[in-house]
Structures are given as structure tokens and as C-alpha cells.
């Protein structure tokens, strides 16, 4: 369960990035965070990971209230997949990259090895285990980045633009994978077709505030609301086509 109440976040120069943000996410729900550029999507994810601490308000994840002293506990419960997988893969091979988190959690190496094998199998990327992360394709890097988070078995996973840098086939593979991944998911994205297909609910941000929230199907098909949010209808609804 995620509970965000009246959260304000400001950048160092004093500019407000998030203003009075409040929402709740139930266990197992998949929620899309959408909005135009600069609406505050990535900042919200950063605040939920304790990278940016709110100046006001409260963030509570699985009963743990965010504060400087318990950021570690929060991070044990929450995983984040960054927009650019290159930022997430910094070790010299995929195995060590995936093992990075569990080792920091103090897990035994034998257990880590088993978990990595299971995770890679679930993602269908077993062959990448000893490859240099920098030599992978965009799609492979994305899957390896997801593996680095999945292996830690977080209860909540935050995705920042998960379909960026992906070709249509890799995007489709990722969507199917996210459908099968049964944890609480928050997906910040511009890919409205994906949001429509994956999310139970969407929260629309505008100028650092929650503009509106509701069922993904209802909100994303409401042309007036979408235009008022500086967005447009998902491609599949514009063209009266099935989701891409």
C-alpha cells in the first residue's frame, strides 16, 4: 500500500517541483503516472525512493514512513527501473550487476546465484549472464535493468519510461512481461497505449500537481480531459485500432 499525502518537493534553487501531491495505491495495483514533459513524473518517483526528500507532506510505503533514518527500509521494499538502463548497469558484467542489490542486502552468494538464475530465466535472458552490460542491445539492457530490480523481490516497483529506447518488438515483450509481473507497479510514462493496456488506474500530473485520477480506460479515452492535461488520446483510440 502506498499512501502519499500533501507532498511538496522543491529543487535546490527553491523551484517547486511537486505541489500538494496526494494519492493512494492499493497492493497489487498497476498505476500509470502520466503528464506532459516537466509535469513532475520523474520527480515523484525520485521522492518515492528518497532521492529527493519532501519539504512537506508524508510518503508511506507498506507502512513505512519516509524519513532520512529509514530510507534503507523503504529501498528494501521498493525497486526502481530508471529511464536509461545504462544508468542502472554499472558493473562489469550482467551477473555482478544483478547481484549488486542482493549483496548489499547481505544475502548469501549461493542464494544470490539461485535467485539470479531464476530471474534471468523468467525474463528469458539466461544467455546474457556473463556478458558485459555495455555491449548489450537496448532491449537486452532494459531487461537486464529490470532483472537487477526483480531479483531483490520488492513489493513495489517504480518504472520511469520503461518503453523508451525500445523497438516495437522489444516494447511488446516488455509489456507482456509487466502484465505477468504481479507486484504493485507505478509506471511513469508518455506511452499512453501501454498505460491503457497495463494500468488499472492513471494519475495525471500537470505543473507538479495531481490534475486528475481515475480508471485508465475512462480517463485515457476522455478527449476533453486529455487535452486539458496537455496530452492527447492514445494512438489506438485516435485511429480506432487495437493497442499497439
Amino acid at each position: 500500500m502506498i499512501n502519499i499525502e500533501n507532498v511538496n518537493v522543491s529543487y535546490l534553487e527553491g523551484r517547486a517541483a511537486l505541489k500538494q501531491i496526494s494519492f493512494r495505491v492499493s497492493d497489487g495495483e498497476t498505476v500509470g503516472i502520466i503528464g506532459s514533459n516537466g509535469a513532475g513524473k520523474s520527480t515523484l518517483l525520485k521522492a518515492m525512493m528518497g532521492i529527493l526528500l519532501p519539504s512537506e507532506g508524508c510518503i508511506e510505503i507498506n507502512g513505512i514512513r519516509m524519513s532520512k533514518s529509514n530510507i534503507r527500509k523503504i529501498r528494501e521494499n521498493v525497486g526502481v527501473v530508471f529511464q536509461n538502463p545504462e544508468d542502472q548497469l554499472f558493473m562489469s558484467d550482467v551477473y555482478d550487476d544483478i547481484a549488486f542489490g542482493p549483496r548489499n542486502m547481505g544475502m548469501e552468494e549461493a542464494e544470490i546465484k539461485n535467485k539470479i538464475a531464476d530471474t534471468l530465466k523468467a525474463l528469458g535472458i539466461e544467455k546474457l549472464i556473463h556478458q558485459n552490460s555495455s555491449r548489450l542491445s537496448g532491449g537486452e539492457q532494459r531487461l537486464a535493468a529490470i532483472a537487477t530490480v526483480m531479483v531483490m523481490e520488492p513489493k513495489v516497483v517504480l518504472f520511469d519510461e520503461p518503453t523508451s529506447f525500445l523497438d516495437p518488438k522489444a516494447r511488446r515483450k516488455l509489456i507482456e512481461l509487466l502484465k505477468a509481473y504481479s507486484v504493485t507497479k507505478l509506471i511513469a510514462t508518455h506511452d499512453l497505449d501501454m498505460a491503457l493496456e497495463l494500468c488499472d488506474r492513471v494519475i495525471i500530473l500537470k505543473d507538479g500537481r495531481v490534475f486528475t485520477e481515475g480508471s485508465a480506460k475512462e480517463l485515457l479515452s476522455d478527449q476533453v480531459m486529455m487535452e486539458a492535461s496537455d496530452l492527447e488520446l492514445p494512438f489506438c483510440l485516435q485511429q480506432n485500432k487495437s493497442p499497439i
Partner: protein, 267 residues
């Protein structure tokens, strides 16, 4: 910038060589590291006038190149980078020591020439030994080799991050360079007046990227120390190989003084 691209290709070329499956590639990385270290110590221990003894030790990299199926060209290209430093350090010897050391076909060879050549040869041999180690050992195995000989974690983190992000930084620099040239098609490179902005932007982008990487590390529990899996011990077989090769090198160094080796070559 073309040279940056070329350097990047050279790094990648050396890394490609680590994917071969020769006995040298399969050897424990820590064992290779120890042997390389012994070799470098022995090569450096030669006195400046013992050029002939050094020539004998040139056989070692040649032998490794053969069993490791490593071509000479990529190693020489990388080796060239170190040579100017040795050239500058030793060139004064040519002028300062003009005493005739020996005559070859009536041509006087001065002491300065011998010591200068000795310095160059030492540089080539030691750099070659390191390059051969790099060309036959994957980065990950190198890190674990350092881990097994108790190198501090901080040094390993620096090495790994530098290696990982040289490529990313060069990629960024090349992208910026392409973007520049596309808007300045008549220019061959970046104008001097734009160089400050270019480098400034590159630094800002690098800082930005470094910050994102740090956040990604923090999100997975990083608290200033990277944990590696258990050390890969060298093992009895490994120590035996180190001892045998080390012993052989020391024997050659001690028992075959320069004059004797010189005689072998002259015959």
C-alpha cells in the same frame, strides 16, 4: 575527435581479444596477474647496460602472443602511447654519455645509445606484458583477481567505474561532435572558440550522468562499498605455476648474465 573514436575502437579491439578460448585465456586471472608482476619486476631490475639480457626476456611476450593467439598489431598500437614518455625520459642519454661502449662493424656504439635502447626496450616489454594480461583477461576476472590478492575495494570500484564509463563518456562526446558537424558542415573539427563550450557541456553531461548512476546505486542499497562474491583463491595448482615460472625467470636473470646471453645471440 577522430582520435577519440580511434582510441575507443582500440579499447574495444583489446576487449574483443579476451573472448578467445586458449589455455592462456582460461588460466586463473590472479595467477596471470602474479606472473605479469614478477616479469615486470625482473625486467625493471636489469641495469641500463644489460641490453642483451633484456633481449632474452623479449621471448616471454612473444611466447604468450603465440599461445594466446594475440596479434601483434593491436598491442603495438597501444604500446605506442607509452613510447613518447620513454623517448623524452631517455633521449638525453644519447648526448650525455658518449663513451664508446663497443664497435659493431666498425660503427661505434656509445654508452648513451645502449642505455637509451635499454630504456625503450624495458618500456615496450613491461607495457606489452600488461597489455597481454588485458588482452587475455576479461575485466570482471581482473577485478576478482585484484580482490583475491586483497586490493582495497575503493581501488577496484575506481577501476571498474572508469572502465565502464570511458565508453559512455566517449559515446557522449562523439554524439556532441556529430551534432556539431551536422550544423557546421564546412568545418573539419570543432573550432577553438567553441571548444570551451563543448568541453563544458561534456563535463556537465558527465556530472549529470554520474549523479544518475549514483542514485541507481543508492536505490539498490549502496552505502559506499561494493560487495563482491567470495574471493577466487589461486589454489595449489596456481601457486605451483607461479612458482615454476617465477623460478625459471629468476634463474634466467641470475644465472645467465648479460655477457653469456650476448654470446648465445652472437653465435
Amino acid at each position: 575527435m577522430a582520435s577519440i573514436q580511434k582510441s575507443f575502437q582500440q579499447i574495444a579491439a583489446l576487449e574483443e581479444l579476451t573472448h578467445k578460448h586458449t589455455p592462456l585465456h582460461r588460466m586463473n586471472a590472479a595467477v596471470k596477474l602474479m606472473i605479469t608482476f614478477i616479469y615486470i619486476i625482473i625486467v625493471v631490475s636489469f641495469r641500463p647496460m644489460e641490453l642483451d639480457g633484456l633481449l632474452f626476456f623479449a621471448c616471454f611476450p612473444v611466447f604468450l602472443m603465440i599461445i594466446g593467439e594475440i596479434p601483434l598489431k593491436p598491442l603495438m598500437l597501444r604500446c605506442m602511447i607509452a613510447l613518447p614518455f620513454a623517448l623524452f625520459a631517455g633521449i638525453s642519454n644519447l648526448f650525455l654519455d658518449r663513451t664508446v661502449y663497443t664497435l659493431v662493424e666498425g660503427v661505434p656504439i656509445t654508452g648513451g645509445m645502449v642505455t637509451f635502447s635499454s630504456l625503450l626496450l624495458k618500456t615496450v616489454l613491461t607495457v606489452m606484458a600488461v597489455l597481454l594480461y588485458m588482452a587475455t583477461t576479461k575485466m570482471n576476472d581482473m577485478i576478482y583477481a585484484l580482490h583475491s590478492i586483497h586490493v582495497p575495494s575503493l581501488i577496484m570500484i575506481q577501476m571498474m567505474m572508469t572502465y565502464r564509463y570511458i565508453g559512455v563518456l566517449m559515446d557522449e562526446a562523439m554524439r556532441m561532435h556529430h551534432a556539431y558537424l551536422l550544423r557546421a558542415p564546412k568545418e573539419k573539427g570543432i573550432k577553438l572558440k567553441d571548444m570551451g563550450t563543448f568541453l563544458g557541456q561534456l563535463i556537465l553531461r558527465s556530472i549529470d550522468r554520474a549523479e544518475r548512476i549514483y542514485h541507481a546505486m543508492q536505490c539498490r542499497g549502496f552505502e559506499g562499498r561494493i560487495h563482491y562474491s567470495a574471493k577466487k583463491p589461486i589454489g595449489a595448482g596456481g601457486w605451483l605455476v607461479i612458482f615454476m615460472i617465477g623460478f625459471l625467470m629468476i634463474m634466467v636473470r641470475v644465472l645467465l648474465p648479460g655477457e653469456m646471453i650476448g654470446r648465445i645471440f652472437i653465435r
